[in-house]
Symmetry: none
Subunit: 278 residues, 2 copies
Amino acid sequence: MTDAENPRDYASLKFRIAERAGGLPRRLTQVASYALEHPDEIAFGTVASIAVAADVQPSTLVRFAQSMGYQGFSDLQDVFRSRLRDRILNYDERLEHLRQHDLNATKASVIFGGFSDAAQKSLNDLREKLDPAKLEEAVEMLAKADTIYLVGLRRSFPITSYMSYAFGKLGIRNHLIGAMGGLAQEDLSFATKKDVVLAISFTPYASETISLSQAAHARNVPIVAITDSPFSPLAPIARTWFEVTEANFEGFRSMAATLSLAMTLTVAVAERRRNPKN
Amino acid sequence: MTDAENPRDYASLKFRIAERAGGLPRRLTQVASYALEHPDEIAFGTVASIAVAADVQPSTLVRFAQSMGYQGFSDLQDVFRSRLRDRILNYDERLEHLRQHDLNATKASVIFGGFSDAAQKSLNDLREKLDPAKLEEAVEMLAKADTIYLVGLRRSFPITSYMSYAFGKLGIRNHLIGAMGGLAQEDLSFATKKDVVLAISFTPYASETISLSQAAHARNVPIVAITDSPFSPLAPIARTWFEVTEANFEGFRSMAATLSLAMTLTVAVAERRRNPKN
DNA sequence: TTCGCCATAGAATATCTGTTCCATTTTTCT
DNA sequence: AGAAAAATGGAACAGATATTCTATGGCGAA
């Protein structure tokens, strides 16, 4: 079985694992998937600790290593360690690697680079200017809300739909407005001043998002907004609002920063509800 | 001596070593300089092997670790290892870290930092391992498709809903499956081999996404998949698939990398349709 | 010098580590 | 359904590991 030649670098090993995993016994498959998912654990852990984490017997780990063609677990572990060594050590090589990639870069991979850059830049921007006090205020409002109404259309809809999903999982009552049905108006008209509207809209502001928010505002429903400019129609009516300017590539704006903020609000609100005040 | 709180991250430790190295006994100074010069030896080696390499006694290494405020060598070694494992810091570690530098860090802003780090890391990971050839193949398939069926539920739904929106704006015929209505099966059953299914699913794979994709595959509809492991049920049925592993913070996975890839596919497909072949 | 103190070397030790082995269960094939 | 083969769990074991301990060496102060 030991093919005499077995992978000494992580990439080949990963390939071999993926290749053989199909025809492997149950427990060994379990190890295989754990290994690919937690390579760092394999690199630094001990047989015992990994066994616990992967929920198998220590002996299974050894058998797995052997079935991949190694003499024992330690042998296989070396490969996982080499991955970490190489990664940090050759930072220069990494740049070189990127530069080479650029040479035979396809159109699509250039686009990917562009979007990734835009995402990174957006994240860095928001990190610099996000005001913790405002964040705190928004979390407080949302945590106290009876029901959270999520308003976002078009480009913002993925954000609100994510929040709705996450809030749902966390057991926080929420209402996703303007999904598909179209009868958004109806839903939002139930909102009272004990609820909170979280409105998300960017240039060019979807008119429905704005009119819905304004209507809610007219009925004294407090509003938290995420938007991209002090001139946004959401700014004047929101009790607190965040300015998030996403970088764009070829006219397509990133959503990374907004999403990061959305996740933060979601989790922080859940956290606040668990231990209020503080 | 043990200052009760001693560095748990490499940067702070490095600083402390440099700071104290001056007033240290001969042998300990020797260890200090060796440690700073060969950090990965410390991370990977054993007390015995490092002792030989640094030309000191094993016990000296232990004394060094203790003089830096750690309980023993293993304790100090953990810090050197943390440098290599690019794990996202968890909430407690982050709080601890910020306590020293940034005093007015609120709970929510700590969370925001965590999500931003997770997003950045995910993007970097994907940048390194995304294969341009695969990307090209997927773009080609999608560009030739009659209709693109977008399949993604739960956590993946924001992604597909974004793509549906963007494709729509670009005039590319697409069908968003499993939105809200629930009659997803119906929609997808119209797909033929001239269409393409773009399926997105991550652990734990939403059963409906999987069964829909399998049904389409059985009818010879080509599939492009975005998933997180070679063991994903989407991998074997997809004609081409992308492995995207998002970093997570406190159990909530980032979506930044997936989104970046999704935007790339969208724009690249539109581009390809405008100038085909190329 | 002589004393006292700290640093060091190196052996001793108790713990932990990877590996092996065998009985038991599960799967496969006839 | 029964027999053979494979896979698994769990304990046993030999070797390696980090740490502790003690004797020795070096150095400054009186």
